[in-house]
């Protein structure tokens, strides 16, 4: 069971603001979804070892583009900028 306060706590962890009303509704919906996916608890997996087929592929991090080729396009997507910086509220 996930109650309203736990839903609000999860929302805080995920940085998503929820109204009390929505937290209430979500606690019921999440309960029914967790009850469904919880069926995996009955499955037996004790002999299972995870061996991924695909391996991580590394490449050299070399610049492929020209200087400033994308800079303006990327900075222009920011809600707030100052010169060549993204602007955010102070964090300290």
């Amino acid at each position: 069971m996930v109650n309203k306060d736990e839903v609000k706590n999860l929302a805080d962890l995920a940085r998503v603001r929820l109204s009390d009303e929505e937290a209430e509704a979500l606690s019921k919906e999440i309960d029914s979804i967790l009850a469904y996916v919880g069926q995996i608890k009955d499955a037996s997996v004790e002999d299972e070892v995870l061996v991924p087929v695909l391996k991580n592929v590394m490449r050299e991090d070399e610049p492929k583009n020209k200087d400033d080729e994308y800079t303006e396009d990327i900075l222009n997507n920011a809600p707030s900028r100052e010169g060549r910086f993204l602007k955010v509220k102070k964090i300290l």
């Binding site: 999860l10 995920a14 999440i30 608890k41 499955a43 997507n77």
Partner: protein, 475 residues
């Protein structure tokens, strides 16, 4: 006017090279069709303003004697795939104002193949859903019955093709988002092998599941489009090289497996079961051997999927924070900015999945849900591996029934999740799967289509195309 309804990529290419019509004629025909029907159907979120210019460039290349596989072919692109200089929103308010600074690898490849981009099409927000009802920009309607959903999440991509508003399109498939709508709208939808097509420039939902796939009218076109977008990409380290998986061989005599035990559990309608049984008979007549198989852990697929996908989504969607791109809602401090931006920018289903993902990954639940799901995933993969020792392909229905009514499942998220029962195993295992039209069911005087799903081994798309072409009577 060009008859768009029956036109395929193959025929269009022949006509373009023979100068029966020009790329500009073709593009104008599509623009006019979109103008006529998109108001009702809402497949396109934006029709690009440079379509004619793109078509004129294609005509120049044709005049110069160039012959590229998609030269002059008009396509629709799902709104979660980046096209440089164009907007892309993933049908979310949180990407308000975002302009793509680069081309997705699939777009670069399509441009090299000569394709024309008509515009970006609707979807469930961040590809979360199976009906396109979760779009922040309104539902897309099923072109065959406006009271029904087109399926999703690639509902706009499929509707665009089904309404003759594009010759083909790209969608993305995390748990069935290309195949389910293809089944609901009577077109061909391919989910390639995981890692078969680069996701560089695709907005991520579940990174261990996502793949981009083509939507077309025929299996032949599906193969053409797939061949244009596939392949290894240094920008996506999950793309595989030709020697990663053994090369699949199309044999004269092939065996197709049917896991009858899950059909009975899937809540499939009687009529849909009849269509499926007829497909099995048809395959037998075409010379395929049918064999009953068991996939003992497949019934856990949906539960495994609805743990792994939200877990990955909750982490992938953390990047939408109102700082670097998209929507920004101002609060009293930085934390308030985050809370308000995400709270107002993300739609209801997205918020729901972020919370489920946060839950299954949180301390205390991580082992019981996420880690257990990973182990079961590996078990399900082994079931398939074992089955593929005896069979060349496995078939199931794509969906449990025909397209449902708009609003029918909107208030019960779990019932919508259960729609994915037949499609999620291919994503869990990473194997390729295709949905092809297999018949129709008559519902209130309308003929509504259903799809047959064919799955095969990793990197065995050639087997899927072979069976599909035979089934659909293509040469």
């Amino acid at each position: 006017m060009i008859d768009l309804h029956k036109l395929t990529i193959k025929e269009a290419r022949e006509n373009l090279q023979k100068k029966v019509f020009s790329a500009k004629d073709l593009a104008l025909s599509y623009l006019s069709r979109i103008k006529e029907v998109n108001g009702d159907i809402n497949a396109y979120l934006e029709v690009y303003d440079d379509v004619i210019k793109q078509a004129e460039e294609a005509d120049k290349k044709i005049a110069n004697g160039e012959d590229l596989p998609l030269l002059g072919i008009p396509l629709a692109i799902k709104d979660n795939i980046l096209v440089r200089g164009k907007r892309a929103t993933s049908a979310s308010k949180i990407l308000e104002g975002f302009i793509s600074p680069y081309d997705a690898t699939v777009i670069t490849k399509l441009k090299e193949a000569g394709a024309i981009f008509l515009g970006r099409v609707n979807m469930d927000e961040f590809a979360m859903g199976g009906s396109t009802e979760n779009s922040a920009f309104g539902v897309t309607k099923n072109p065959l019955d406006f009271t029904r959903v087109p399926g999703g999440s690639s509902g706009g991509s499929i509707a665009a093709v089904a309404m003759d508003g594009a010759l083909a399109s790209l969608g993305s498939d995390t748990g069935g988002s290309v195949r389910e709508p293809a089944s609901f709208c009577g077109v061909v939808g391919l989910k390639p092998t995981y890692g078969g097509v680069s996701r560089h420039g695709l907005m991520a939902l579940g990174s261990s599941l996502d793949v981009i796939g083509p939507i077309t009218k025929t299996a032949t076109d599906s193969e053409t489009l797939f061949n244009c977008i596939k392949g290894i990409d240094p920008m996506d380290s999950t793309t595989y090289s030709e020697d990663t998986y053994p090369k699949a061989v199309v044999k004269d005599k092939m065996v197709i497996g049917v896991p009858y035990h899950i059909l009975n559990k899937g809540g499939i309608s009687k009529e849909a079961r009849e269509v499926f049984d007829n497909s099995v008979d048809k395959l037998k007549k075409l010379g395929f051997e049918i064999k009953e198989i068991e996939l003992p852990n497949i019934e856990y697929s949906l539960a495994v999927y609805y743990i792994i996908m939200p877990a990955e989504a909750s982490s992938n969607l953390a990047r939408f924070d109102g700082v670097r791109f998209g929507l920004h809602k101002d609060g009293d401090n930085l934390l308030e900015d985050y809370l308000k931006t995400k709270g107002e920018g993300f739609g209801k289903e997205v918020r729901r999945r972020i919370l489920i993902g946060t839950y299954v990954l949180s301390a205390g639940y991580h082992d019981a849900y996420y880690n257990k799901a990973l182990k079961l995933r590996s078990k399900i993969s082994k079931d398939f591996e074992k089955a593929f020792k005896d069979v060349d392909a496995i078939i199931t229905p794509t969906t449990t029934g025909v397209a449902f009514k708009i609003g029918e499942k909107a208030n019960d998220p779990l019932s919508l999740y259960l729609e994915d029962i037949f499609t999620v195993p291919a994503n869990i295992v990473g194997i390729p799967a295709i949905s092809i039209p297999s018949g129709t069911i008559s519902v209130s005087e309308k003929e509504l289509p259903l799809g047959l799903q064919i799955m095969s081994k990793h990197n065995a798309e050639n087997i899927l195309f072979h069976i599909s072409k035979k089934f659909l009577g293509e040469n």
